[in-house]
Amino acid sequence: MKLPLLATRVGILAVKLSVAVLVALSILPLLMGGIGIGLEDEEEGDWALDGSTIRLEAPLMVSNDGFFDVTDLRVGFTFKDRDGNVLAVSEMDPVDIPAGRETAIPIEIALDLYDLDRQTRSDLIFNGTDMAFDLSVQAKYTWNLVGMSVDGGSEMGWDALLGNLDVRTDMAYLGEMDGNHTVVVPFTLYANDMVRDGQALALTEYWDSQGYYANITQMVDLSDNIWEEAAVPLSSEAYDRVMTGEEQLTVRVTLFFLDCSNYEETTFTEQWGWGG
């Protein structure tokens, strides 16, 4: 065979052999479980509220015992409400995972509650809701000759940040403050771990069947087992009415948090002639 033809054949063979070797070296690590991905520590995967942004920071550990670098690794998250509307998209910057190394990739999922419409935000804060959570992982391997993407999704229940608001009229009592009469109405609520150490505004309104109306606002420290008491001022007439006979009273406690509100209203009849 003539030399140029032989050289061409050798070239063809070399390219094909190279591809075969590349394929073998790419597939082997996958078969042997040489490429792994997981959270470093599950404890570090907790959600936190930072201002108005709900944030999850967790170091993702990627081990690459293969022969080639994993390049352009991108991890993206998409949150959707129960109707499929996209609430937030979070995408990390692409990173490279060198061969033979384990690399921690800080992933951050951030959801600014002010980016959501008020109803959705209110649902997230006060009611809890179902959300869809889509995960997308993309990476390249073997000198960018092979690309892989994994897309998965799952439903996730979202617990209310502030919930179980309960106006405890059964525990209400009359009191005095600076020489003025007050009706003290306790209320309880639940605060999710995420918002603990924060504050919410509570507006307590009171009115009776004769048209008397009063309100008071107070800051509520969010912690475990929240028990707050709202001392609503009463006029002498209003005080006399609750002291002398049965009076239909209404108390509404409205919580304000991140520009959203939720209230609990109770109408009750009480005779405080005997004192609180």
């Binding site: 065979m1 003539k2 390219v15 094909k16 073997t142 000759l145 092979v146 993407s149 897309d151 998965g152």
Partner: protein
Amino acid sequence: MSGGEFSWKNASAGRGALSAVKGALKYLVVPLFLVMLGIAVVTNEDGPQAIADILVEMRSIVLVLGAVLTALSFFHGAYPKGTYSRLTFGLAISVLVIVYAYLLLLNGRTQEVIGRELFEVDLWLIFTLYFFTAIFGVLMPLGEFMDRRPLWLNGTGATGKEGTEAPEAHRPYHDFRLRYGSLYNGLRLARNTLTWSVVLPLIVIILLEAGLTSLEVEELDPLLSSLEDVAAVVVLLGLPMTALAFFKGFYPRGSVSRFIPAEAMVLIGLYWIWVIGLEGKLLMEVEEIDISLDYSGLLMLIMLGSGLWLVYYALELFLYRKEWKEGGFKKDLEKKSGKKKALERPAEPLDKAPQP
């Protein structure tokens, strides 16, 4: 036909022995080794007795037909090309090989046992596919006979009787004259192309489909569906490639008539690789997780390697054309990829050739 061509005086025991060794390896030793290996595995691993039984039956077939084919190979190799004796033994081997493959099906019991013990697979379909390549196997001795007969009769070493042709009067389109072609080379290349680009891929697809279907995994349905599409394209591209391969093999190196089908084959082959490689993308859905693999880069690299054949055939035309012209536009009766072998023992002159 001259009965004298069967005379042992025309034969060469050395060539026959070499051919017998090749035949023995192909029809007896390797099949027997595989069958014995199968029996050993089934026995040692406590495998299904039904499989062991059919393997034992196959062993008998391999022993008998393997021995017969080895003997026929001896005579086929011993007689020179272009003789009726070689043609007869060549045809006998080709036909017997088909019978051999048919007998291994054990009248349907092989398929039945495999279906019962492993997975449902249509062995008749596989046999039918094989049959098409086997037809080429039958035609090849005829092609060889037609190519070599003049050489044998003349006993001169000339590869054609057309006489010399003035190179200056030869135009590129004259390259398509049938007298420049070798039937044997054309049929051989067509058979190889049919085998590698149609039959074997289809057999792999059939086995894959059978295996994957037996798993009864719903997630594999898209893959099975794409395999069916690939099978259709393999046939659609493979048959024109086979036709082109015939002409590529038929015409000699240095001719435009070889260059054009060769280049067309490479181009179709590149598309064939792209299709059979599922266009470099594999999509799977496993428990609501979509996995997508994009290996188009690797596929492109393979296509680049195969695309170099375009350069190869262009070079071949360039490098051999002058030689072919100067040689008087002869048939190319040697193996295309190998060195020129010494011509076989020239036949005796006609007046001496037929031996009683």
